[in-house]
């Protein structure tokens, strides 16, 4: 699981709400950050008592309290590219990407393709959220849809703003995707991008398809 911020907190909370999830016993949680006051409006696993502490440690403690059968491995550091994610995901059955930047999202996509394991992708900014699941070889990847990260990222204070419960919704949906993949029940968001417009309260699923010549899955010979 990449990121223990708003999406990571919500995903973990939702997984904790589910009584039994077969196939889930270990979560490697990676995030370099510590809890800050401005996190609390959306990262609802944390409270004032956690300020300054490593996010991944706080999440691990919360999980320990409620699920003795799960092992959370907290990793306090920033992931360094695709190779690092591939190595970190050794032995994992899926990657959950709740990172806060576009570059890491594409790196997580590429790592999932290299490892040939599913990726649950979620993102939220302002009043907008999106979600999809990648099953390498079977469904469209992030690069089929968005090609690649922009040359320059962010650089606007406004881009840091986000509605707390919208992040919560995306995180909760990500957890649902995790359970669908692990338990093989229900239909995950394969070849579908779920978009949420929080301001208009509209939710749509956009059909996707694998793109010929995609630099992600196409390069690995995974196109059908």
């Amino acid at each position: 699981m990449i990121g223990a911020g708003g999406l990571g907190c919500a995903t973990v909370l939702a997984l904790l709400a589910q009584p039994k999830i077969s196939g889930l016993d270990r979560i490697i949680l990676v995030d370099p950050d510590q809890v800050e006051l401005s996190n609390l409006h959306r990262q609802v696993l944390f409270t004032m008592e956690d300020l300054g502490a490593d996010k991944v440690q706080c999440v691990a403690q919360q999980v320990e309290k409620s699920r003795a059968d799960w092992q959370v491995v907290p990793v306090v550091r920033r992931l360094q590219g695709v190779g690092d994610i591939v190595a970190m995901a050794d032995g994992c059955e899926l990657i959950v990407d709740g990172s806060d930047n576009v570059t890491t999202r594409f790196e997580a996509n590429d790592a999932a393709l290299q490892r040939s394991i599913p990726l649950v992708h979620g993102a939220a900014i302002g009043f907008r959220g999106q979600l999809m699941t990648l099953l390498p070889g079977q469904s469209a990847c992030l690069r089929c849809l968005f090609y690649g990260p922009p040359a320059t990222e962010g650089a606007s204070c406004r881009s840091d703003g986000v509605l707390g419960p919208l992040v919560g919704e995306v995180g909760w949906l990500m957890a649902m995707e995790v359970v669908k993949i692990l338990t093989q029940q229900g239909a995950p968001l394969l070849n579908r991008l779920l978009t949420i417009d929080g301001q208009k309260q509209r939710r749509h699923t956009v059909p996707l398809q694998k793109r010929a010549g995609c630099t992600g899955c196409g390069n690995l010979g995974l196109l059908a």
């Binding site: 009584p19 006051l37 401005s38 004032m48 909760w172 669908k180 029940q185 229900g186 301001q199």
Partner: protein
């Protein structure tokens, strides 16, 4: 202010919107699988004044304890659930609440609250999970309620998570209502999310001339 900085920088909220959130007062019915996540995100966004009606004292206690741990400026007044109708009626008459939020997921309570709040000026945000579909609406007519799930084996394997999910969606809609900008207000259709397939549906929330609830002499 620092705590809410990521909201204040949103053009749709700003300092004015944040003040509205922090001075609002919600009546929450239910502090369980829907109400608790709703409270986490609602209080996280800055809503500080809460009136709680919850039949299970341990759930009410959990929420109060959590509020204290999160922010000392949050006040939660727990009122006796046995007087649900009286409490709601008196609160609705005084207009003290910015909104009523029904998050019980018990069909009898759900129906009662929707009926009591019907045609009241205070908006009611309500949600309901039935046969794997999470439904949300604002001030719907009681005649439009999605049916209760009668068959336990039809329950979705994602039921527990689905309740938290609709809690987060409810919180978004309530925030928009407090900001005076809720597109789902005024009896828009119920919005449904099918948990297993990840698809959406809608169900009419408006009542027509044939509505049994509204056929009481007044114009629907």
């Amino acid at each position: 202010m620092h705590r809410y900085s990521r909201q204040i920088i949103l053009p749709q909220i700003g300092g004015v919107g944040q003040k509205k959130l922090q001075t609002s007062h919600l009546c929450l019915v239910g502090a369980g699988a829907v109400g608790y996540p709703f409270f986490l995100y609602g209080s996280g966004s800055g809503i500080q004044q809460w009136t709680l009606l919850e039949p299970d004292p341990s759930l009410a206690e959990r929420l109060v304890k959590e509020a204290r741990r999160r922010d000392p400026s949050i006040t939660v007044t727990v009122l006796p659930f046995a007087h649900l109708a009286d409490t709601l009626n008196s609160g609705l008459q005084t207009g003290q609440w910015s909104a009523v939020v029904e998050a019980s997921n018990d069909f009898a309570i759900h129906h009662k609250v929707v009926t009591l709040c019907h045609r009241q000026p205070t908006p009611l945000h309500t949600a309901w999970l039935s046969a794997g579909i999470g439904w949300l609406a604002c001030s719907p007519c009681p005649c439009s309620l999605p049916p209760p799930s009668t068959s336990p084996h039809r329950a979705s394997p994602f039921e527990a998570m689905g309740m938290g999910l609709i809690g987060t969606q409810l919180a978004q809609q309530v925030i928009l209502t407090i900001l005076g900008n809720n597109p789902t207000e005024k009896k828009a259709p119920w919005q449904g999310f099918q948990l297993e397939s990840g698809t959406f549906s809608t169900q009419q929330a408006n009542c027509g001339p044939e509505c049994p609830t509204c056929r009481d002499g007044s114009t629907p």
